[in-house]
């Protein structure tokens, strides 16, 4: 085990303490595992709450702040949070205008957020939900739990968060989030497995010189294993799979995302190839984001997410955002 931790049991609580110390602009309830904008509830504004298993940082806690999430609920590593967290978060941020839950499509996340929505509504909080399911690697939804939510989560949280910040009503914020998800597709590649604190060793065995195509963000293997490919070949493969499903007719936002252990140097090089393929396919790239945003602990690898946008969505993307993990404008 080569982890910078105390004991596996306290990893999430320790991280929340460290986050609280680094970010005075956040209210971090370590005991109850809720990260809230210090200025919440914002009068007259819709609130956004998201959450999921830990291990994907900066997602979601790193996206709490002006222009994005109002609160985040971190679960145990790779384990969806419990309804109690979500209800507590919703209560902390609701100004009376309602709360949007941003939920990645995993059985655990869906079940827990559903329970939380019921409980929160019992407490008189108006709840809307957006399900994120952008991963094209999960092909046959009839015989699976449906497409996973991965990189598009960032687009959903950013665009819906910008709409909420502008004062849009709940129905509109929900529509913006849903549209962002519908306009997005992702594909992920692993060059190594990751190690969870609980297991202490790689979650699957990937001999060097091999890669996994079509991975999710929970250290699960992908749908196919292949001999190592070059950055150029990986970019071609990933972009083509995404484009085939998305068939964009408008410019796209491109997220070239690292899984955690791939150096930024390599991610930028990979981005060069992604851009080359997109240009070759006649796709206009409106904005590009390169970095570790939706990660899988110490997994080496990357994912590509494209979100096709209209003028209004592009405006919401460019709107100011001030969070630990994403910051621009104002």
């Amino acid at each position: 085990m080569r982890m910078l931790i105390n004991v596996p049991e306290t990893v999430v609580a320790d991280a929340l303490r460290g986050m609280a110390a680094a970010h005075p602009e956040l209210t971090v309830d370590v005991e109850n595992r809720v990260v809230v904008r210090a200025d919440a509830p914002m009068a007259g504004k819709v609130a956004l709450v998201s959450g999921g298993g830990s291990g994907h940082e900066p997602l979601h806690g790193g996206f709490v702040g002006p222009g994005m999430l109002s609160a985040a609920c971190p679960g145990e590593v790779f384990t969806s949070p419990v309804p109690d967290q979500m209800v507590r978060a919703a209560a902390a941020v609701d100004s009376g205008e309602g709360v949007l839950f941003v939920v990645k499509n995993y059985t655990g996340d869906v079940l827990n957020f559903d329970m939380a929505a019921e409980l929160a509504e019992d407490e008189g909080i108006q709840i809307a939900k957006v399900l994120v399911n952008d991963d094209v690697a999960v092909t046959d939804s009839l015989y699976t739990a449906g497409r996973r939510g991965t990189g598009a989560t960032l687009f959903v949280e950013k665009l819906a968060g910008a709409a909420a910040e502008e004062g849009a009503p709940l129905q509109r914020v929900e529509a913006v989030g849903r549209q962002a998800n519908e306009c997005s597709r992702s594909f992920g590649i692993a060059l190594s497995a990751c190690s969870t604190p609980a297991k202490g060793s790689p979650t699957f065995d990937l001999p060097s010189g091999q890669l996994e195509l079509g991975i999710g963000i929970h250290g699960e293997p992908g749908r196919e294993r292949r001999a190592m490919m070059t950055a150029r070949e990986i970019a071609e493969y990933a972009v083509d799979v995404v484009l085939e499903d998305l068939r964009p007719t408008r410019p796209v936002l491109a997220l070239v995302n690292g899984m955690g252990a791939t150096p930024l140097l390599e991610l930028y090089g990979f981005n060069a190839e992604v851009q080359r393929v997109l240009t070759g396919r006649g796709v206009t790239v409106a904005r590009t984001l390169v970095g570790n945003y939706v990660t899988s602990l110490d997994m080496a690898g990357c994912s590509v997410t494209l979100c096709q946008v209209d003028e209004e969505q592009l405006r919401l993307w460019d709107a100011p955002v001030q969070t630990a993990g994403l910051r621009w404008g104002r």
């Binding site: 298993g53 827990n112 699976t144 979650t203």
Partner: protein, 199 residues
């Protein structure tokens, strides 16, 4: 008749089994999942033990409802709401009686398992906990031992199946050849029940 102490013993034995087998459950959750099922179950049943200690519920139904609620509040993931619902609904079906018959318990477990199927949308053959739970409650009509064996066999029988629900389903055909962690933990819970019933 089974009294409140019986149900507390069931939860205690189940908790011990989960603790003992936690590493194995996480191991099973690695190739076809996200390597957390063991720690999820362990965290949940540790909390159940503490809650039963603290609140001291005084009917069989109340024990299971509290256990279920505690799992929902502490486990997360897919298994938290599913096992939480299983125990909560079973407990609810037991009503407020101070003692329940084996037949009442069987019917209540039926209701609990049905609730799991409804919540998760899965059916036997999908390579989930239901592959252990459904044959187990069916075999309860015969005996607790039969239920234990049926659950165990159901868990083993998930190996050749292709997953259609939960995380393992993302793997498609690559999910074949691995035992489902949830079915395995279900077999532990049923074995715990059989153990306290035999004592």
């Amino acid at each position: 008749m089974r009294d409140t102490a019986f149900f507390r013993r069931w939860m205690a034995v189940a908790s011990a089994a989960v603790n003992r087998e936690a590493a194995r459950l996480t191991e099973l959750d690695s190739p076809i999942g996200d390597a957390d099922h063991g720690s999820n179950m362990q965290r949940g049943f540790t909390a159940v033990g503490a809650a039963l200690e603290k609140d001291a519920p005084d009917t069989p139904g109340a024990v299971l409802v509290l256990a279920g609620r505690t799992l929902i509040s502490t486990v997360g993931g897919a298994s938290g709401p599913l096992y939480g619902t299983l125990l909560r609904r079973t407990g609810k079906a037991l009503g407020e009686a101070a003692e329940v018959s084996d037949e009442q318990l069987r019917d209540a477990l039926h209701a609990g398992v049905d609730a799991v199927a409804q919540l998760g949308g899965a059916a036997p053959g999908d390579k989930t906990m239901l592959d252990a739970l459904v044959p187990a409650v069916d075999a309860l009509g015969t005996s607790y031992e039969a239920a234990r064996d049926a659950a165990e066999n159901g868990a083993l029988a998930t190996v050749p199946l292709q997953a259609r629900k939960g995380r393992a389903s993302y793997l498609g055909e690559r999910s074949i050849g691995h035992q489902d962690p949830g079915a395995t933990s279900s077999a532990l819970l049923i074995a715990a029940l059989a153990e306290v019933a035999a004592a």
